[in-house]
């Protein structure tokens, strides 16, 4: 008891670190792997041995010490392309996740707080957006505006907004049922205080979990869109585009498809692992 008190004094804002600390090694594995992937991708310009668009005569080379992942149909170094592709993928993932979380959290919170008509309107709107097939939605917008990384991030982010809003709404609604919320209303707390000081700290973990899930979904969506040719256009590439190109040249080079696909797989796996672990930690200690 004494030690927990000391801990509490030393670090009163402890939601995230505490959740991580309570979950054990799997969380650390997920965080470690994700951190390596992010750092390596971001540091692509420093780490990449070649210019990702530099062509050579050495086409479909198998992996070697010079070309770690081999080369593609134009003789470009696949390792460098995967690194730079990772950079672009990370940009889209981060951007789209930020868009989905930002709009989704505000959307969900307004719905939960306003209740009544506003809630009804916002949630039926969410239903409507969710009823549109995601690919169709993306197709329309990309053919209208073109597929730049920024637009892709925006479109994918918007696609994931309604599910986020729904989750946030139900989490906030559960908190509003608690007596501490009523107590705060009863002593005259302002809406701002109710939201930021009372509710937000209690929904921080679900928000983190949803962020991880959203990031995984963005990766998947981006890869699927690239695969049907709606993604980033050459010569730029994301992992998704690399998978699509590698798939067409599968019989010339196994490594072309393998490495980007593997990276997508590992990243999504680790994000889901992280989400599961964080979710467990919050549900086990959420209610006394």
């Amino acid at each position: 008891m004494a030690s927990s008190t000391v801990l509490a004094v030393a670090n009163p804002r402890r939601t995230f670190l505490d959740s991580v600390r309570n979950t054990g090694w799997q969380t650390w594995v997920a965080i470690g792997v994700l951190a390596i992937i992010v750092i390596v991708s971001v540091a692509a310009p420093i780490l990449a041995p070649f210019d990702p668009t530099l062509q050579s005569k050495d086409r479909f080379a198998t992996p070697s010490l010079v070309h770690l992942f081999g080369t593609d149909e134009l003789g470009r170094d696949l390792f460098s392309r995967v690194l730079f592709g990772g950079q672009l993928t990370m940009f889209i993932t981060a951007g789209a996740t930020a868009v989905a979380m930002f709009i989704g959290v505000i959307w969900g919170m307004i719905a939960a707080f306003a209740r009544g008509l506003a809630d009804e309107v916002l949630m039926r709107l969410a239903d409507t957006v969710m009823a549109i097939p995601q690919m169709l939605f993306a197709l329309v917008f990309i053919s209208a505006f073109g597929a730049t990384p920024e637009r892709l991030a925006l479109i994918i982010g918007v696609l994931l907004t309604p599910t986020t809003a729904r989750l946030i709404r139900s989490t906030v609604l559960a908190e509003i049922q608690e007596d501490y919320y009523t107590a705060a209303v009863a002593y005259g707390a302002s809406p701002r205080r109710l939201l930021l000081t009372e509710i937000l700290p209690n929904v921080r973990v679900p928000i983190l979990v949803q962020t991880a899930i959203n990031a995984a979904n963005v990766l998947l969506l981006e890869a699927s869109m690239s695969f049907v040719g709606l993604g980033i256009q050459p010569p730029d590439a994301t992992w998704g585009t690399l998978v699509q190109q590698g798939y067409q040249k599968m019989y010339q080079s196994f490594s072309y498809l393998l490495f980007p696909a593997l990276l997508i797989f590992i990243t999504i796996w680790m994000l889901n692992l992280l989400a599961d672990q964080l979710g467990d930690s919050s549900s086990s200690k959420g209610r006394s």
């Binding site: 004094v9 009163p12 007596d179 009523t182 002593y187 005259g188 707390a189 209690n202 200690k285």
Partner: protein, 572 residues
């Protein structure tokens, strides 16, 4: 040891110890049960009484069990889980506290009962169905044939508990364990359920283990009572013996701290320290409070209906009027669903009303602008039932208590911290609690924090909505004493809401009895208790268990009859 046991012993527990890692929540517990015997395991939360029961059923997951549980010559601790499935519901059955979560919501009652019967016998579907109808009839469910086709949500709490008992009895068990079977039920229903258990024990010779925190309930039902504390049995005695002449300190505290209809309302309730130093320290009586004629709160013609969608609606309160004078405690008593909490929320403008007015210090709280209302909230506060839900689990005690001051922009940081420390001392916690989190504290401590938070703005008026109902007997006594002391010292006015007539009697000067959203009777305390006018008030009073075996047994019979009369009227 075995040789001393009577021949008709059905269950013999010897040196049962339950371990979870480093903790030992059940420590060296021994007791035995004869055929048809009724014993009680009595204790407060955390005493290990429920875990003892779960261990008998071998349902204590992840626990290490030691000792012996001898059921008709078989040591249950040596059986595999597979073998246990035959014992469970067969030779030993259990009834739990919450009948709703124990029944499957998507299966008809009939199907659940029929399956339970077939599990432990070779009956055909048809004959099991007939047996199930018989069982329902036996446990007092009216129109059993029609009820078989219904689902759990179509039953009232009391009826659901009857179904649970029917299900437990379906395997004709030797031992029935009832874990707080009436705690979630209203007092009037409670008497009926205990009476039913009593009858079943008589008719079938089933031995019953009643687990309860309520000494009154145990008094009326049990022949032998084992008082548990911190995992140990601290006293085992015949019921009459225990109540007349408790031996252990803890039993004494439990018995003296009970708030019943006989306690002296002018004195503090004896708590642990008082009981153990009997005779040394005269208990001071609380000086009578100064009540002015000034009406602080006036509620007139309050109505509120909840619309449940698809045209269904529930009238939560109808035409509720009362007034509270400055300095008094106004009591609002009623069973679950009587609308008393809606009144509390309406008084504090936490919920809107359909019609009627709430005048606080001459202002109608429901027609104020939100800024005016927010400043008025400084003078009126609320303490809730659930001590854990009332506190934000991500905030420290100091942050929780300080919040109202920050909200109203009062004082500098240093001043606020000083005030928090003062409040902590006032509610008897001390400054060392300032940096703790609610989850490291007990229910009683959390409730004190809740009270400290409500007092920090120096309010005139406090609504206490079942504020002691979730607390253990000994803690309840402390909190009630604290509230009265604070009221005296700070000149507070209380609206005290409870389902417990004994607690209301101790706290309130004037009392209104609510039933189905309306006030059925309103009178000063002494008048109400000496001469209750409304039939419902009388049945409520008759339903309160008394912690005295002789009185309680006679009382329960009468109460069960009264309640049965009421229930049959309701059923129509």
């Amino acid at each position: 040891m075995t040789s001393t046991l009577p021949a008709d012993t059905v269950l013999d527990i010897r040196n049962l110890t339950v371990r979870y890692g480093q903790t030992t929540p059940v420590d060296d517990v021994s007791f035995s049960l004869r055929r048809g015997e009724r014993i009680g395991l009595v204790g407060e939360s955390g005493s290990g009484k429920s875990l003892t029961a779960l261990s008998i059923m071998r349902l204590a997951e992840g626990a290490k069990l030691r000792g012996e549980i001898d059921l008709g010559g078989v040591n249950l601790l040596s059986l595999s889980q597979k073998q246990m499935t035959r014992i469970r519901g067969g030779k030993v059955a259990m009834v739990y506290q919450d009948p709703m979560s124990s029944l499957n919501p998507v299966m008809t009652i009939g199907r659940q009962l029929t399956e339970a019967i077939r599990l432990h016998s070779t009956a055909t579907k048809a004959s099991a169905y007939l047996q199930a109808i018989e069982l329902l009839d036996e446990v007092g469910v009216p129109f059993p044939e029609e009820r078989m086709k219904q689902y759990a949500h179509e039953f009232s709490g009391g009826m659901r508990q009857r179904v649970m008992i029917a299900m437990a009895m379906s395997g004709k068990p030797d031992v029935l364990i009832a874990d707080e079977p009436t705690t979630a039920l209203d007092v009037t229903t409670q008497a009926l359920i205990i009476d039913l258990l009593d009858r079943l024990a008589n008719d079938y010779g089933t031995a019953v283990v009643l687990i309860t925190h309520d000494l009154g309930v145990a008094a009326g039902f049990c022949e032998t009572i084992h008082v548990m504390r911190h995992g140990k049995i601290v006293e085992s005695a015949a019921a009459t013996e225990l109540y007349e002449n408790p031996q252990s300190d803890y039993s004494k505290i439990l018995l003296k701290s009970v708030v019943d209809l006989t306690i002296d309302v002018t004195k503090p309730i004896p708590t642990g320290d008082d009981v153990l130093s009997v005779g040394e320290r005269p208990v001071e009586s609380v000086p009578s409070r100064q009540m002015s004629d000034e009406v602080l709160l006036k509620v007139e013609g309050l109505n509120k209906t909840f619309h449940l969608g698809s045209g269904r609606k529930i009238t939560a309160i109808k035409d509720v009027s009362f007034q509270v004078r400055r300095g008094e405690t106004f009591g609002l008593v009623g069973e679950s669903g009587s609308g008393k909490s809606t009144v509390a929320r309406a008084v504090l403008a936490l919920t809107g009303v359909d019609s009627g007015t709430v005048n606080f210090r001459g202002k109608d709280v429901h027609s104020l602008k939100s800024s005016e209302l927010r400043s008025l909230r400084r003078s009126m506060q609320m303490v809730f039932q659930d001590p854990f839900s009332s506190l934000n689990r991500r905030q420290t005690v100091a942050q929780i208590i300080e919040a109202p001051l920050i909200t109203h922009g009062i004082g500098t940081r240093a001043e606020r911290r000083a005030k928090v420390a003062e409040m902590l001392t006032l509610v008897g916690l001390g400054e060392e609690f300032a940096d703790r989190y609610p989850r490291t504290m007990s229910g009683g401590q959390c409730q004190r924090v809740s009270i400290a938070r409500s007092l920090i703005l120096d309010p005139d008026f406090m609504v206490l909505d079942e504020s002691v109902s979730a607390l253990d007997v000994s803690i309840q006594a402390q909190v009630l004493n604290l509230l009265r002391e604070l009221q005296q010292r700070l000149g507070l006015t209380f609206l005290f809401i409870s389902h417990d007539l004994a607690v209301i009697r101790y706290m309130a000067d004037n009392i209104a009895v609510m039933r189905q959203g309306a006030i059925v009777e309103m009178a000063p305390r002494d008048e109400l208790y000496s001469n209750p006018q409304h039939e419902y008030t009388r049945s409520l009073m008759a339903a309160i268990p008394v912690a005295d075996p002789t009185i309680e047994r006679a009382r329960r019979k009468a109460a069960a009859q009264l309640a049965a009369a009421y229930e049959s009227v309701e059923a129509l």
